[in-house]
């Protein structure tokens, strides 16, 4: 009875805001495509990239990194015991990239030209490279995702076909991810004078790659916790504890590279100057340090709630980093005082909400999770 109360409450409680976001999202979508970007966004000539680039695209791609991390571990490094968490990770990554692409459709001034990079080439452009990698990687994810379905449906022929190409496919996915995860950082290499020194660095691509690895682990942990809660499934807790160890290590490597870089460039004093950038930087660092600290204490690392919070702070840390690079760090030079409009925020929320709904619908009706440990189900 008690579980009933717990599970039903948040749903009815959430229903109203979710409905509101959905309705507002649809209305704003119509406005966006009828009247142009100016009507719904706070963007300006001085600040042409806002929340939709910073959150929907730059954060979105990072948060979908769980897919390539886990396929690499399970297939390339043959750690097959992670298979139970592999499928939801692939599903999340696949949905994540779809969301990123949809977000891009909102943000591009001429979304109907989105296919142009296919035929109009500029190999000197980082954006061109990212576009190609994201397109190819989404194809890889679509194939990996269909292999899951085929496996669960026991379509023998399809499954054998997938088996034959599994390793090269996964390898391609890992390489493509390495490239575009880091290239999202390279996007900002060309603005040494516009991006604040706390974030501008020639190591931006490396920083982005290392933090993508970290957030990949963190997202898999979070997703497993949340879906076990909502779908009442068992939790592969020992696997998550192991992933937590990888997360801990990845965060330390990221922070070490980043801090030595800032130290060598002699810009750390900006962190303490009380400016908006300084505070944003301290928040970013604080989140990473908290996560590392939580994971360093064995009692916390091995407790469900502790691991959950460690992963959540890691995700927030990487999000803070991405938003700092693409928004906060670009603010002062632009003198624009950009702050996302409520419509921008609503549309971002709308996309996330849609993603979450699709994820749980898919998780419920598609054979995403291996059918074991169903004892928790309360009916």
């Amino acid at each position: 009875m008690k579980t009933m109360a717990i599970t039903i409450k948040p749903k009815t409680f959430l229903l109203l805001p979710v409905l509101l976001v959905l309705v507002a999202g649809v209305v704003l979508t119509v406005v966006r495509f009828t009247y142009g970007l100016g009507k719904v966004t706070a963007l300006s000539d001085a600040f042409p990239w806002g929340l939709w680039v910073g959150f929907d695209v730059v954060c979105g791609v990072a948060l979908a990194a769980g897919g390539f991390i886990l396929t690499a571990i399970t297939y390339l490094f043959n750690a097959e015991r992670y298979k139970p968490v592999l499928r939801p990770a692939i599903l999340t990554a696949f949905l994540g990239y779809i969301l990123v692409s949809v977000g891009l459709l909102y943000d591009l001034g001429k979304p109907w030209n989105i296919w142009h990079p296919l035929v109009m080439w500029n190999p000197h452009s980082v954006m061109f490279e990212v576009a190609w990698c994201v397109m190819l990687y989404s194809t890889v994810l679509a194939l990996e995702f269909s292999s899951i379905i085929a496996e669960a449906m026991k379509w023998k022929k399809v499954v054998t076909a997938f088996h034959a190409i599994a390793v090269p496919l996964v390898l391609a996915g890992v390489l493509l991810s390495t490239l575009h995860q880091s290239s999202l950082g390279s996007l900002f290499l060309i603005v040494p004078l516009k991006l604040h020194p706390l974030w501008y660095s020639s190591l931006l691509p490396l920083n982005f790659f290392l933090s993508a690895v970290a957030v990949g682990f963190a997202m898999v942990i979070l997703e497993s916790f949340i879906s076990s809660r909502i779908l009442h499934r068992g939790l592969e807790f020992d696997l998550l504890v192991d992933l937590g160890r990888f997360l801990w290590f990845a965060e330390i490597v990221f922070l070490a590279v980043r801090l030595q870089d800032l130290f060598v460039s002699g810009v750390l004093h900006y962190a303490m100057d009380g400016s908006l950038e300084g505070i944003a930087f301290l928040i970013e660092m604080g989140l990473f340090f908290t996560s590392i600290l939580l994971l360093s204490i064995r009692r916390i690392h091995n407790s469900k709630i502790g691991l959950f919070f460690a992963a959540a702070t890691a995700v927030l840390g990487v999000m803070a980093n991405r938003l700092n690079v693409s928004l906060v760090g670009m603010l002062s030079d632009s003198k624009s005082g950009y702050f996302p409009s409520w419509s921008e925020i609503t549309i971002s929320l709308f996309l996330v909400t849609m993603g979450v709904i699709v994820f749980f619908t898919a998780a419920r009706y598609l054979p995403i999770f291996p059918p074991e440990k169903e004892a928790d189900i309360s009916k």
Binding site: Y35, G36, I114, M127, L193
Partner: protein, 248 residues
């Protein structure tokens, strides 16, 4: 082929704004004359302490905007101008973010928006004419010509009147040099021009990383593939030794 440019001499500009008006005319730009660059003002003339100065696209020799555009909608013509093709553009606005002079503007309130900036009247140049703003300028304060010649003229003016000009040809070296050159009696920083630009073209910063990508792919492919092969081989050997049935 000669590469052309414009020389803007702020000291001789009288602020009549004929250039702004003629620009609107030849480029079909509506709306009133503005104070700031906008989708309807490719160039502006403003006044600071009696000095009239002009702002427009610098037509960089190695432009950031053309290097970042994923579809090559922006192009550096051999004639000098940096041109734009709205039919190719996808509207990512990376050009606006990347431009070191923050020049390109966008049609925010158009559902089919395009990027807006001076294109140095490329079609007029191709017809053997001067850009409209240079042609109309009554004082010769905007002068069209081969960039090398303009640079000589600018240098000559600075040496002849060291008291009247700050010793700086803006655009000679900025961001690797630009086709538009400017000389002035007031420091460019005071007029709001970015004065801390590196002398190397900014696209180099990206290219040093981008050009390594084939190596990265190759090396990472070999390393990760190698790890897979080793692990896989070892597991196969284990299996053979144990004679176990393997379950995929």
């Amino acid at each position: 082929m000669a590469t052309y440019g414009l020389l803007l001499d702020f000291n001789t500009c009288i602020g009549c704004k004929a250039c702004m008006r003629s620009c609107k005319e030849v480029n079909n730009l509506s709306g009133p004359l503005g104070q700031e660059l906008s989708a309807e003002n490719y160039t502006v003339v403003n006044t600071y302490k009696d000095l009239n100065y002009r702002k427009m696209c610098m037509h960089c020799l190695t432009p950031s905007c053309t290097s970042v555009c994923p579809v090559g909608a922006l192009k550096k013509s051999e004639l000098g101008p940096v041109t734009y093709d709205g039919n190719k553009c996808i509207g990512c606005r990376y050009c606006m973010v990347a431009c070191p002079f923050s020049i390109p503007r966008y049609e925010w309130n158009n559902p089919r928006p395009v990027v807006r900036k001076c294109i140095m009247c490329i079609s007029r140049i191709e017809q053997g004419k001067e850009p409209a703003c240079a042609w109309v300028c009554p004082m010769g304060a905007t002068r069209f010509g081969e960039r090398d010649r303009l640079l000589d003229i600018a240098r000559a003016r600075l040496t002849r009147h060291p008291d009247k000009y700050v010793n700086h040809i803006y655009g000679e070296k900025e961001a690797g040099g630009t086709s538009v050159l400017m000389i002035s009696s007031i420091a460019f920083a005071d007029l709001g021009f970015r004065s801390t630009l590196p002398q190397e073209p900014l696209p180099d910063l990206t290219w040093t990383v981008l050009r390594k990508i084939p190596n990265i792919v190759f090396t990472a492919g070999i390393v990760v593939g190698g790890i897979w092969w080793v692990i896989n081989r070892r597991m196969e050997l284990d299996r053979e030794n144990n004679g176990n049935n393997h379950k995929a």
